[in-house]
């Protein structure tokens, strides 16, 4: 099998499944709705400077004012306009999730490819380390790393990545273990292809569908973990509007009954995570051969 043919066969597997989403029943619609939610949030955050009614970091009204015409979502404990903060607040979550998925991808996939392809004692030992991390409560690791690294977007992305690199590693490894026994890899080897050529051009494309599913789920997890870290007090400093920060600090005024300070940021976090989850769940059901009829 030539290289071009290989690539075409893989594309032939993925592309039609993504282009005809509307004809794929509920799972297809889940992907569409998910993509719509996420893009809407991205657009909202991008155009926030032009559409937000107030400066999100300025006291513009009375503190903890309930929703009214002037402030449709009320004001928070510092008298900041909640609507403006909601519009601006997605940037940190989005940055962290994209960064952490990128780090996971760049570290986890090559590690998985390499480790399983080399095999032997190296693979065994490495898998043991990865499994130890994987089996452990992820949030505890994220908290430990985030606390040690200090606040900041990149540090948070790193601490989240540490938790999810094992899932990339494991999925890639299990796939490669079965792929590398296939005859076309043998053919490539016997025709004198270098090990990195085999890994990159022959093995990697076959792993892509699984990685896509892991990555979309990872986006949702990253958003939730970032929110959790912020809630514990390991988030980014407050002069950048952030849903997680609003939620954490609004919670302290819970007993006063100021529901609007926590409800709106919380709902936005749910919406963003839900968007990613829908894409991930829909895709995994579309690409799962067991449920296809």
């Amino acid at each position: 099998m030539t290289e071009a043919k290989m690539k075409r066969s893989i594309l032939a597997r993925i592309v039609p499944q993504l282009t005809s989403l509307t004809r794929r029943g509920p799972s297809g619609w889940m992907v569409i709705v998910g993509i719509a939610i996420v893009s809407a949030i991205i657009v909202m955050t991008a155009v926030a400077p032009w559409i937000s009614p107030h400066d999100p970091n300025l006291q513009v009204g009375p503190i903890r004012a309930p929703p009214s015409l002037g402030f449709p979502m009320g004001t928070n404990q510092l008298g900041f306009d909640m609507l403006s903060r909601i519009l601006f607040g997605g940037s940190i979550m989005l940055e962290i999730s994209v960064l952490s998925v990128l780090i996971c991808f760049l570290v986890g996939v090559p590690l998985g490819l390499f480790s399983s392809y080399v095999g032997g004692m190296f693979d065994r030992g490495f898998s043991l380390v990865i499994d130890a991390v994987y089996a452990f409560p992820g949030l505890v690791i994220a908290i430990a790393v985030a606390a040690m690294l200090g606040p900041g977007v990149i540090n948070m992305a790193l601490s989240i990545a540490v938790v999810y690199i094992p899932s990339y590693f494991r999925i890639v490894r299990s796939q490669v273990l079965s792929i590398k026994e296939l005859t076309y890899i043998e053919a490539a080897k016997s025709s004198g292809a270098k090990w990195y050529t085999i890994l990159i051009s022959y093995v990697f494309p076959n792993v892509i569908p699984s990685i896509i599913i892991v990555a979309t789920v990872n986006f949702a997890d990253a958003v939730l973990t970032a929110a959790g870290l912020t809630f514990i007090g390991l988030g980014v400093p407050y002069n950048i509007p952030d849903w997680g920060w609003d939620l954490k600090n609004g919670w302290q005024f819970l007993s006063s009954g100021a529901w609007w300070i926590i409800t709106f940021p919380g709902l936005m976090i749910i919406l963003l995570a839900l968007g990613f989850t829908l894409v991930g769940e829909g895709l995994s059901e579309l690409l799962n051969p067991k449920l296809q009829r």
Partner: protein, 420 residues
């Protein structure tokens, strides 16, 4: 490989895994920036005092030496016997035994984890079965939606919303703590013991009754499993008889001399029942309700999805059609036949979810001021309390490893293909 050797292998493998985890945490904590002593004094003390404190805590020694010291402390059997918990070093914040602090915080987390897991499984499996029975109907889509949405809800946000509704507005349930401060925590069952006349020899003779009970139980169990009772079975029972007799005699003598026997689990709901105090029991259930429902609902989403997919696959199999064709009742087919077969992946998921549950417990504990291990970690991490965090992580790791072992044993027990 038989089940017994499998369990032993797993138990032995737990030691290097935990050691690996511990070593990683140990190294990472010391390599990354942050100084527990400076944080303890809030950078106000003079350098000489801080150096002295570092010396007392052993932070000025090479990392390898500290590490060997720490591992040596954990395996110190004498300390374990004297205190009832292993030596996990002194906290770098409060300078108390970390083992003791963890020992007192752990039951709170365990109680929360157990009840949330039960809630998650009941909600998840029931909804999953219902969804799979009405595949692609409105109900199915609704339940699928529930499964997806709960996955996307941050557990602390759900906790806050429930606090707001049931605590702040309705005043039905407390919004925090394990028990109302006005109620004294349950102590468990206390039995007052008085020594028999005749001292230890008499006591020892009477203890043979306990051994006899175990002997009879052994015989009954072996008989029930239709094992050959001839030589091996009787030999095993006799050995069990002697071992139980001796151990029971000495252990109970220890308690008789102390004058009382304290049975306490640290779980408030069980302890209050043991004590027979219904008032305390309802108090602790009330406090448990919101946190465990919060965590249970968030976790149930995964069980809904998993149950649904597995039931869909199982309901399509031939044996289900065969069972239906024989005229068995619909519920019998669903719960007695299909669910039993779809249950194994769910069981595996329970084991995997346990780690996730502990992660969620940290956030839930923070939301509800629940005095468990999660809040302990969160409180200590800002002070770089190395020893406290190492200790808590070892306990978490041990718990996760034990749960996955139990799940594996259950799996082997439930799946006839793996049975011995």
């Amino acid at each position: 490989m038989g089940l017994r050797s499998y369990i032993i292998t797993r138990l032995v493998l737990m030691i290097p895994t935990l050691l690996l985890l511990l070593s990683m945490v140990f190294l990472v904590m010391r390599v990354l920036p942050g100084d527990p002593v400076a944080l303890h004094f809030e950078k106000k003390a003079d350098p000489a005092t801080m150096d002295q404190m570092r010396h007392i805590l052993g932070l000025d020694r090479p990392i390898l030496e500290q590490y060997i010291d720490y591992i040596g402390g954990i395996v110190d059997i004498n300390y374990l016997l004297a205190h009832g918990y292993p030596n996990l070093g002194k906290s770098m914040q409060t300078f108390e035994d970390v083992g003791g602090q963890i020992f007192s915080a752990f039951p709170a987390t365990l109680e929360l984890a157990i009840y949330s897991m039960i809630i998650a499984c009941v909600i998840g499996i029931l909804l999953g079965v219902v969804a799979s029975k009405s595949y692609n109907s409105v109900l199915d889509q609704f339940i699928r939606g529930f499964g997806t949405v709960t996955y996307a809800v941050p557990v602390f946000f759900l906790g806050i919303v429930l606090q707001l509704i049931f605590g702040v507005y309705l005043h039905w349930l407390p919004t925090g703590l394990r028990l109302d401060p006005s109620i004294t925590p349950p102590t468990g069952l206390t039995i007052t013991l008085s020594a028999l006349p005749g001292g230890f020899p008499n006591h020892f003779l009477l203890s043979s009754i306990a051994g006899l009970i175990v002997f009879l139980m052994c015989i009954v169990i072996l008989k029930m499993r239709r094992k050959n009772l001839k030589y091996r079975g009787i030999a095993i029972s006799v050995v069990a008889f002697i071992i139980t007799w001796v151990i029971y005699a000495f252990v109970s003598w220890h308690f008789v001399q102390a004058g009382k026997l304290q049975i306490s689990t640290g779980l408030y709901t069980i302890d209050s029942l043991l004590q027979g105090n219904i008032f305390t029991f309802f108090g602790s259930v009330k406090a448990l309700l919101l946190p465990s429902i919060t965590l249970g609902i968030v976790l149930s989403g995964i069980f809904v999805r998993l149950t649904r997919t597995n039931m869909l696959e199982t309901l399509r199999l031939d044996f289900v059609t065969a069972a239906k064709a024989r005229g068995l009742k619909e519920t019998t087919v669903t719960y007695g036949y299909a669910l039993r077969n779809a249950f194994l992946p769910i069981l595996t998921m329970m084991g995997l979810q346990f780690a996730m549950l502990l992660g969620g417990a940290i956030l839930t504990e923070t939301t509800f001021s629940w005095p468990g291990l999660g809040r302990y970690i969160v409180n200590r991490i800002n002070f770089r309390d190395y020893t406290a965090i190492q200790g808590a992580i070892v306990v978490f790791g041990l718990l996760v490893a034990l749960v996955s072992l139990v799940v594996d044993i259950l799996y082997a027990y439930l799946d006839p293909r793996i049975r011995l």
